[in-house]
C-alpha cells in the first residue's frame, strides 16, 4: 500500500457523510445518556427535601443511614417505574430509530408488551426488553461521556483551534505596548493536566492551528470508535431478546413450511390433473370407442378400428402407470426407507452428469431430515445438469457436531445466483424450517459448491 492510499482516507475522514451522521447521532442521543443520572439525582435529592422534616438526614457531616436508605429506596422505585410504565422502552425506541436513520444500524424492535396479552403489573415487572432498555440507558451514560469528549473536544475545540490565525489579527491589533493576557488553547489532553497551552503571539496561533488540524483529523476515527461501542449496546440491548428472536424465527419458518406444504399439494394436484388423470380419461374414452366398434353382440362390425383403439388404450394405460410411478416417487422415494446413503447412491447413479458419492454418516438422521437432504441433493443434481455444463459432480455427506453436512460440488461454469430462480431459495427455505442452512459459493467460472447443514434430528 503506497503512502497516498494510506493518507487519503485520513485526510478525507472529517469530510465524509458518515462522520457527519455519527456526530449528529452523538449530539441527538446525548439527552438519553444524561437522563438516568439526572432523574436519579433529582429523585433522590427531592426525596430528601420532601421528607425534610423527618429523620436526621445528616450525621457528622455525612448522609445518615436513613438518608442513604431513602435514596436507595427512591432509586429502586424510579427504576421499577421506568420499566413498568414502559418509559424505558419508549425512550430507547427513539435511540433505536436514530441509530437506524443515522448509523444504518437496523435493529428490530422487541414485540410490544400489550400484544402478548400481558398487561398485569407482574407481567410488566417481568418485561425483559424493558429491563434491557433500562440497562441501555444506564450504560449509555459512560458511552455518552466518551461521545461528548469526541464531539465537544475533538470536533468542537479542534475546529475552534483552526480559527485562531484568522481572527487573531482582527481582534488582537492593539497599539504596541499593550500587555495582553495569553489565549488558552484546548487540547484533548487538558483533563490530565498536560498539553494545555496558551498562545500570546500571531505566530503562536499556528501552533493552535496545527493542534486543531490534528484533532479534527483524529475526530472522525475516535467518534467512530465510541459510536461503535454504542452500536454494540443498541444491538445487544435494544433488539428483541434471544427468546423473542427465536420466536420470530420460528414464526417465519413456520409460515414458510405452511406455504411450502400448500405449494406442494397444489403442484401434486396439478400433476395428477394434467398427467395420470387425463391419461386415464383418454384411456376410458378409447375403450368406450373400442366397445362401440365391437358391437353389442355377435359379429364385430369394425374389428380393425377396435383393435387399433384397444392398442391405443393399452399404451395409454402404460403411460398412466409410468406417470403415477414417477409421481409417487416424487412424493416419497421408496429407496429412502433404506437410508440416505442408499437413496443418494441411486440418485448419483441416475445423474445425467457423472456423480461421485462419499457418505460418512455414523448415525441415522430423522426421516424428515433424510427426505430434505435427499430432495436437496436431487434438486442440486438436476440444477447442475441443466445449467452448469459440469463434467463431474461430487456429493459428500458427513456428520459434524450433531449436524448432517451435505455438500454438492460441480466443476461447471459457476455464477449461480441464489436470488434468481426459486429452486435454491426453496431449498434454503426447506432447510430453514428445520433450523438448517444452505451455503452457496459459485464464483463466475466455477466451481459451484452448495453446502446444506441440517440437524440430524428435528
Amino acid at each position: 500500500m503506497d503512502a497516498v492510499s494510506l493518507v487519503s482516507p485520513v485526510l478525507r475522514g472529517p469530510f465524509t457523510g458518515r462522520a457527519r451522521r455519527e456526530v449528529a447521532f452523538c449530539v441527538l442521543t446525548l439527552p438519553f445518556g444524561v437522563f438516568i443520572p439526572l432523574a436519579g439525582f433529582f429523585a433522590t435529592v427531592d426525596a430528601g427535601l420532601l421528607l425534610g422534616s423527618g429523620p436526621p438526614w445528616v450525621a457528622d457531616g455525612n448522609p445518615s443511614g436513613q438518608a442513604v436508605g431513602a435514596a436507595v429506596g427512591v432509586a429502586a422505585l424510579l427504576t421499577v417505574l421506568l420499566v413498568t410504565t414502559g418509559a424505558a422502552r419508549r425512550l430507547t425506541a427513539a435511540c433505536r430509530g436514530l441509530a437506524g436513520r443515522l448509523l444504518g444500524e437496523q435493529v428490530t424492535a422487541p414485540p410490544p408488551l400489550a400484544s402478548r396479552g400481558a398487561r398485569g403489573l407482574a407481567a410488566r415487572i417481568a418485561d425483559g426488553p424493558g429491563w434491557r432498555a433500562l440497562a441501555y440507558l444506564l450504560l449509555k451514560f459512560p458511552v455518552m461521556l466518551l461521545e461528548c469528549f469526541a464531539v465537544a473536544v475533538l470536533w468542537g475545540a479542534g475546529l475552534a483551534n483552526l480559527t485562531y490565525p484568522f481572527w487573531w489579527l482582527s481582534f488582537r491589533n492593539h497599539s504596541p505596548g499593550t500587555r495582553l493576557s495569553p489565549v488558552p488553547v484546548i487540547t484533548p489532553f487538558d483533563w490530565i493536566g498536560q498539553g494545555h497551552f496558551t498562545v500570546a503571539t500571531f505566530p503562536g496561533t499556528f501552533a493552535a492551528f496545527a493542534a486543531g488540524a490534528g484533532m479534527v483529523l483524529a475526530a472522525p476515527w475516535v467518534t467512530r470508535m465510541v459510536v461503535a461501542a454504542d452500536r454494540r449496546l443498541i444491538r445487544g440491548l435494544l433488539s428483541p431478546g434471544p427468546l423473542a428472536r427465536r420466536l420470530a424465527d420460528l414464526e417465519r419458518t413456520r409460515a414458510l413450511a405452511v406455504d411450502d406444504a400448500a405449494t406442494r399439494l397444489r403442484r401434486l394436484e396439478r400433476d395428477l390433473h394434467d398427467g395420470a388423470q387425463i391419461r386415464l380419461a383418454t384411456l376410458a374414452m378409447n375403450l368406450g370407442m373400442a366397445k362401440k366398434k365391437l358391437g353389442d353382440s355377435g359379429a364385430v362390425p369394425d374389428a380393425d378400428a377396435a383393435r387399433e383403439l384397444v392398442d391405443t388404450a393399452l399404451q395409454g394405460a402404460r403411460d398412466a402407470l409410468g406417470e403415477l410411478r414417477e409421481l409417487a416417487r416424487g412424493i416419497h422415494p421408496p429407496v429412502l426407507d433404506n437410508g440416505l446413503p442408499d437413496a443418494l447412491a441411486s440418485l448419483a447413479a441416475d445423474s445425467a452428469i457423472p456423480a461421485r458419492l462419499a457418505c460418512r454418516l455414523p448415525d441415522r438422521p430423522a426421516p424428515a431430515i433424510e427426505a430434505i437432504a435427499y430432495f436437496c441433493a436431487a434438486e442440486l443434481l438436476a440444477n447442475a445438469a441443466k445449467h452448469s455444463a459440469a463434467a463431474t459432480i461430487t456429493i459428500d455427506v458427513s456428520q459434524r457436531a450433531g449436524l448432517l453436512v451435505l455438500t454438492v460440488t460441480d466443476d461447471g461454469r459457476g455464477g449461480v445466483d441464489p436470488g434468481r430462480g426459486s429452486g435454491l431459495a426453496g431449498l434454503a427455505q426447506r432447510a430453514a424450517v428445520v433450523d438448517g442452512r444452505l451455503d452457496i459459493t459459485s464464483p463466475p467460472g466455477g466451481p459451484t459448491r452448495v453446502t446444506a447443514e441440517l440437524p440430524l434430528h428435528t
Binding site: 387425463i278 380419461a281 362401440k292 395409454g316
Partner: protein, 214 residues
C-alpha cells in the same frame, strides 16, 4: 353437427375429435385455450362447443368463462363444458348465465359413447345435460333439508334423471319403464313438490334445479 372443441390435453383432444367424427359429426376446429376458442367460434359458427373448464393461461375456469361469454354472444351455439372435477357452484354459474343449450359433464362420461353423444345432441337441440354427479350433490342437499321426503324411492330416481336433462322417453329408457309409467311418475313429482308443470324438457329441468338449489 358442426362442433368446435377446446381442450388443452392433446391426447384427450385427439380422442374426442375421433369419437365425434366416428359418430358422424364435423369437428371444425380443435383448440387448446379459451381465447382460441372464442376466435374459432366466431369463424366457424358451430352448433355445439365442447370446452374443458381448466385451460391455459391460468388453469382455473377459462372454459367456464368462455362458455358464459359464448352463450351471450352466440345464442345459437350450445356449450358443453367438460371437467375432471364436478363443482356444483360451476353448474350454478353456467345455468344462471344460460338456462338452455348448456351441459356440464365429467370427462369420465365420454367413455360411454352413446350417452355422451346423446348429451351433445340434447344440448344442441336447446336442452340441458347435467352430470349425474352434480345432480347427486343437489339431491343430497335437498334430502338433508327434508325437501324430498314426500317422494318415493322410484320418484327420486326419476327426479335425478329429470335434473340431468332427460326427456320422459329418456327416463323411461334409463329405468326400463313404459313411457306412460314414466309420465305418471313425473306428474306425481311435480304435484308433490309444488312445481309448475312445464311443457318443454328444458323448462322442466330448470324447475327441478330451482327446487333443488339450496
Amino acid at each position: 353437427m358442426r362442433i368446435v372443441i377446446a381442450e388443452d390435453a392433446a391426447l384427450f383432444r385427439a380422442g374426442l375429435v375421433r369419437l365425434l367424427q366416428d359418430e358422424g359429426h364435423q369437428v371444425r376446429a380443435a383448440v387448446a385455450d379459451g381465447a382460441a376458442l372464442l376466435a374459432a367460434v366466431a369463424e366457424h359458427h358451430p352448433d355445439v362447443v365442447i370446452a374443458d373448464i381448466r385451460m391455459p393461461p391460468t388453469w382455473t375456469d377459462e372454459g367456464l368463462r368462455a362458455a358464459v361469454e359464448l352463450r351471450r354472444a352466440h345464442p345459437g351455439t350450445a356449450v358443453l363444458v367438460l371437467s375432471q372435477y364436478i363443482e356444483t357452484g360451476y353448474a350454478a354459474r353456467l345455468l344462471s348465465a344460460s338456462p338452455a343449450g348448456v351441459g356440464y359433464l365429467l370427462k369420465d362420461r365420454v367413455a360411454d359413447v352413446d350417452e355422451f353423444t346423446d348429451a351433445v345432441t340434447r344440448i344442441a337441440a336447446g336442452g340441458t345435460a347435467l352430470d349425474p354427479e352434480v345432480v347427486r350433490h343437489l339431491l343430497a342437499g335437498s334430502r338433508r333439508s327434508g325437501g324430498l321426503d314426500p317422494l318415493t324411492a322410484r320418484e327420486r330416481d326419476v327426479l335425478a334423471l329429470m335434473a340431468e336433462g332427460r326427456s320422459n322417453a329418456g327416463i323411461a329408457d334409463a329405468l326400463v319403464l313404459s313411457l306412460g309409467t314414466a309420465e305418471k311418475h313425473v306428474a306425481s313429482i311435480f304435484a308433490k313438490l309444488g312445481l309448475p308443470a312445464s311443457a318443454t324438457d328444458n323448462r322442466r329441468v330448470l324447475a327441478v334445479l330451482h327446487y333443488l338449489r339450496p
